[in-house]
Symmetry: C2
Subunit: 361 residues, 2 copies
Amino acid sequence: MRTIDVQASSHDYSIHIGSGLRLALKSYISMDYSKILIMTDENVANIYLDDVLGQFSEKEILKVIIPAGESSKSIEIFYSTHTKAIEFGLDRSSLIIALGGGVVGDLAGFIASTYMRGIDYIQMPTTILAHDSSVGGKVAINHELGKNLIGSFYPPKLVLYDIDTLHTLPTREIRSGYAEIIKEAMLAKQSNLNEILSTTISDIPNEKLMQDLELGIKIKAAIVEEDEKERGTRKHLNLGHTLGHAIEAVLGYGKITHGEAVGIGLLFAVYVSEKYFSKKILFSQLLSWLKKNHYPLNIVNSLTPTALVDKMKTDKKNVHNKIHMVLLEAIGQPTVHSFEDNKILDYIQSFFDMVKEEMMN
Amino acid sequence: MRTIDVQASSHDYSIHIGSGLRLALKSYISMDYSKILIMTDENVANIYLDDVLGQFSEKEILKVIIPAGESSKSIEIFYSTHTKAIEFGLDRSSLIIALGGGVVGDLAGFIASTYMRGIDYIQMPTTILAHDSSVGGKVAINHELGKNLIGSFYPPKLVLYDIDTLHTLPTREIRSGYAEIIKEAMLAKQSNLNEILSTTISDIPNEKLMQDLELGIKIKAAIVEEDEKERGTRKHLNLGHTLGHAIEAVLGYGKITHGEAVGIGLLFAVYVSEKYFSKKILFSQLLSWLKKNHYPLNIVNSLTPTALVDKMKTDKKNVHNKIHMVLLEAIGQPTVHSFEDNKILDYIQSFFDMVKEEMMN
């Protein structure tokens, strides 16, 4: 098992990564919680829920199973889960457990942050992508006008990462998770990035997966420790997300995975960076890696640049009505820049043209 | 003007109490906020909203006027205000202003705490009761199963208390506010309490009102500084609220004011304290003061003790299924006790009998 400790402003917490942790959950719960609510989605429930439930009596734990997918991060499920929690008798000394991917983690975490003004919760991520959302305390639900617009900063008490649960992931999900890992490596240093660029998603040995995951989490944890509330450096974690979020929103959530959209967004961020700083940084290597790993770059054929810019304008990272983007001056040297709509539109158009051309090669 | 400074874990903030402050709001806003949302209710809007709006251009400030009353602290208004804020273009460097009583303050504060994971807000209380809710950062909306069940701890950036706005309050609202002030004095010391017991609500000179308000806020501020997240001493502020909240919930919010319910709850807390510690503490003086000031003690005739106990059991202050109550060992010596349902039921029954008898005298 590997353990990474994170210092949050309200409390410190540990991230344990290892095999079989879901079966040992109870031994990691140090406090005497009055009751427990465990949230998971239909897919995860079928495979892993019983492993966790088996450690508790029916009287002490309530299971809440939500439909898989981004649409569950809704105000309706937020509210109805509060109802279930109240009816089950959860109180201020109760615990919420999020067993699943980012959707479950974000939703369960936001419920924990608002239930009776905040109770403890534990993240048990079951996807690679969730290594990102489960660390750092960003929790939220979606508003119909934009993703993650209603939420808070509320760190978990513990992150328990059972790597056994990653074995059942479809390749698409592994691809989705690796977009965030490669992003983290781009924010760190060249040697980290080389490490991830050497990974072929369709065939990752277990030890390599553990190692990449630990690398990503360590980079992320260091950034959120420095800037928990995203006033400065934490903004760098949005690398690739300006276009990524817009793609997801325009296509409708679920058409392509979050990480697949971020993968394209990262390539766009590098494209703009190379233009802006007039130097080669990473475009061709990143493009090769995305192609090799079957990121859906051809989606650009069905996207309208103006629609993407419209979505970007409602992104919560934007301040004073300009579109903010994280660029890379070099590997490990991110900076935040703001652009007028039209400039971004130009960049998207020429980027799409280039990608289309590349896809024909 | 009087100023009280409060240290919160995330930041410090000032509470200014004085005349004409609503007209000078702009001079107290130090940051360059991108946009402002001001929330108020229909009643306050009619009298004071223009005084505030006049300081800003239409492009920079959005007004959101909610129906007066507790029922506005709903998930529907919470969500629809988010919608309006997004459509108006509020971003992470925007500001929310709560102009009104506790309902507006709690709701606007909770929206601020969750909008794009939290933006700044300013409390501008316009009732005496709101001296309590506007200080200390407790924000929330109601769940249909209980009051304030969905919320967070999120301190304001500033509290601007314009005492001119208190002149237009009906006596009932002054009565409501004084219940919290007398509660605060009960938690402090005998001389503070004597000060408040000397107040006759139907006829308070301006200077006396300022002084009582400052006293209440200072006591409250000292407690929340010591225990922001209500893990210990802040629980003492729930004195009188175990029965008070239950009365409100059983009657339906709005039948009697929050403070009127708390007034009866305080008398009940003193009643139980005197029984529990087998000594006289305050019952007869408090009863006289409540009678003199026309707190609706006769409401006990229309309340069923079992219904009250049922409500208490869903109160979020309860942990491990027992009913918690703040008692007073003496003035300024609060302690938290937990009771079985039946014990509380006995106390309520004998308390009601005593009040009914007293009301006939």
